[in-house]
Subunit: 193 residues, 4 copies
Amino acid sequence: MARPKSDDKRNALLLAAEQVFAERGLAAAPTSAISRQAGVAEGTLFTYFRTKDDLVNALYRSIKLELADALMAHFPRQGPVRDRLEYLWNAFVDWGVANPQRLNVLDQLSVADIVTDESKAVGYEPFAEIEALAQHSIRTEILQAYPCEFIAASMKALAETTMGFMNAYPAESGLYRKIGFDVFWRGVARKAD
Amino acid sequence: MARPKSDDKRNALLLAAEQVFAERGLAAAPTSAISRQAGVAEGTLFTYFRTKDDLVNALYRSIKLELADALMAHFPRQGPVRDRLEYLWNAFVDWGVANPQRLNVLDQLSVADIVTDESKAVGYEPFAEIEALAQHSIRTEILQAYPCEFIAASMKALAETTMGFMNAYPAESGLYRKIGFDVFWRGVARKAD
Amino acid sequence: MARPKSDDKRNALLLAAEQVFAERGLAAAPTSAISRQAGVAEGTLFTYFRTKDDLVNALYRSIKLELADALMAHFPRQGPVRDRLEYLWNAFVDWGVANPQRLNVLDQLSVADIVTDESKAVGYEPFAEIEALAQHSIRTEILQAYPCEFIAASMKALAETTMGFMNAYPAESGLYRKIGFDVFWRGVARKAD
Amino acid sequence: MARPKSDDKRNALLLAAEQVFAERGLAAAPTSAISRQAGVAEGTLFTYFRTKDDLVNALYRSIKLELADALMAHFPRQGPVRDRLEYLWNAFVDWGVANPQRLNVLDQLSVADIVTDESKAVGYEPFAEIEALAQHSIRTEILQAYPCEFIAASMKALAETTMGFMNAYPAESGLYRKIGFDVFWRGVARKAD
DNA sequence: CATGAATGAGGGTTCATTCAT
DNA sequence: AATGAATGAACCCTCATTCAT
């Protein structure tokens, strides 16, 4: 096979898309700017992604997967629920603070209707284990008897809020990380310990 | 610049913009579609708003003001903090559930970078009184000793999460409204009562 | 109504399309070249014709109508069949020789699959009277008992062949016009007179 | 330039081009579709034909040659003029009816301006013998004293018209073949026999 | 020679904005 | 002030052709 499609180039395009979306917003990001940023010809983008929408969906999945990896790679399968949730919390906000651009783009993509339901499903899958943990904790009466997607969504919402403050006030970063989790835990736990 | 003749037309344009943004997404909403929806000529839009960005910012402010009115118009200046916060909470989510389109557009606008910092500042202003309430409550040790913008932001994040569930499961609407507030209150209060 | 859509501009666009198609071929005729030739902005073309295909179909109909007018406007409703057919023959080839470009484009359009069946039907309508004449002449045994569309098609084919020679040898133009008709008439008449 | 390795591949490309042109029209036929249809890589097409135009011209010549072969291979060098012309007529329309796709493409190519005058000259050459026959017949007063290219052109025009009807009404195919020739013969012969 | 990724000029079309009416 | 035709820069994508493998 002559000159195989290069993973490097594909990744360069995804990264470039991320940067351009972060800078100019998903709406106003021409594919030409993405190609230029990636250092390839305009047409090349379309040998790696059939359409701009395809690129957007691929980027969404790729960020979601990376995030999943950050959360789940060393996730402790044992120990008190509180500790395990705090681990997730910290992994999440640390990732978000380390990759503010990526997080910003993920937020944009999450509301954009270019991202298909299928992509959303794929992106959600790795987080199923968290849901399982939550479910178990509800049954064992550690967490409140709320629908567990609601608990997960609350966690996400509070974590993103927290990240906003961590980014805005880097000096207080550690403090916000902690009080953010405290708010979440007290909010959803049966007994605050 | 003398105010253009008809406030009706201006409002019709804002409303039309909201509808079109809700249906097609902020990105894919041509001004021509907005004019058509408003029942005016394409050019007319530009006598009421100098540019499309102006229209978007005006819409953002108008929604924010309406929301502020919904929250603050009958806000009880007396009574226990918990009750007063719950009043706000309920007013917020009720508004969101009554105006899902408007809420959706507000979400879109909040991440769009067309909305200027100035608009965001203007949109925040009416909520200052809430902040004052929070500040007072912190000093009187009713709420946790967190930065009060953090508490406000947490409230907003949880309320929006809650609204999402209320819209998704209308039958459980009342339930979510309640448990949403409980999560928030336990999260930020010194003593859950 | 502000600045009404101008028939002049519409016609200029049709004429420009004809010229550009004649020069560069239907396939390789960018709309930008048509706009330029018509002396309008690129976008203007699309306020008069929704798509390029629309323009092509409109051009086809317009040429067909013009041709129909050239043939039928003074068509003699009386007299010997031979004379009446010769009138048509002459009107056709005279028009074709006077408008070689237009004829050329009509030929291109006739095989192009951009032209819809509906357009073809509309374009055929004015020629129905000729068919009626042919049918009558077959019944009265002036013409051979062939399907009359076949006679019409033969006439067209021979006329276009004839026009080719008239254009190629303008000095002999009159001669070809005559012998062309003779070939046709002897071919389809019961008795050559 | 040494002939490239495989004549098979060259022919496969010509055949593929014919199929793709027939299906999608000359205008909308990308070289990539032709390569795919031929089962070769995109680049390979260009080792057999320097440009797309070259391919088109080669296809034109190839079809013309094949047609010439169909007409001339068993052309009777003896016998009455009428019989010999009828032989040609039948050979022509039979070929056209047996290869409708090929005929269709030939029609498209004949009006396309991609085909060079040189190609047209080459394509005409094998038909010279017919012209010679016509010329002889005119001198011996069997045919009318018309320019013999005009007679040839008329024959071609009527034959193509005839083929159209043969393809459209296969059940009447034999009938059209016959009356088509009759129209032609009466049109150009001095004495219809 | 065969392959198919890479290229970038153009293609048709959209759209925010202007301006003649 | 209101209208909507006019404008032309940009957009996404295609495709003939080149060239590294």
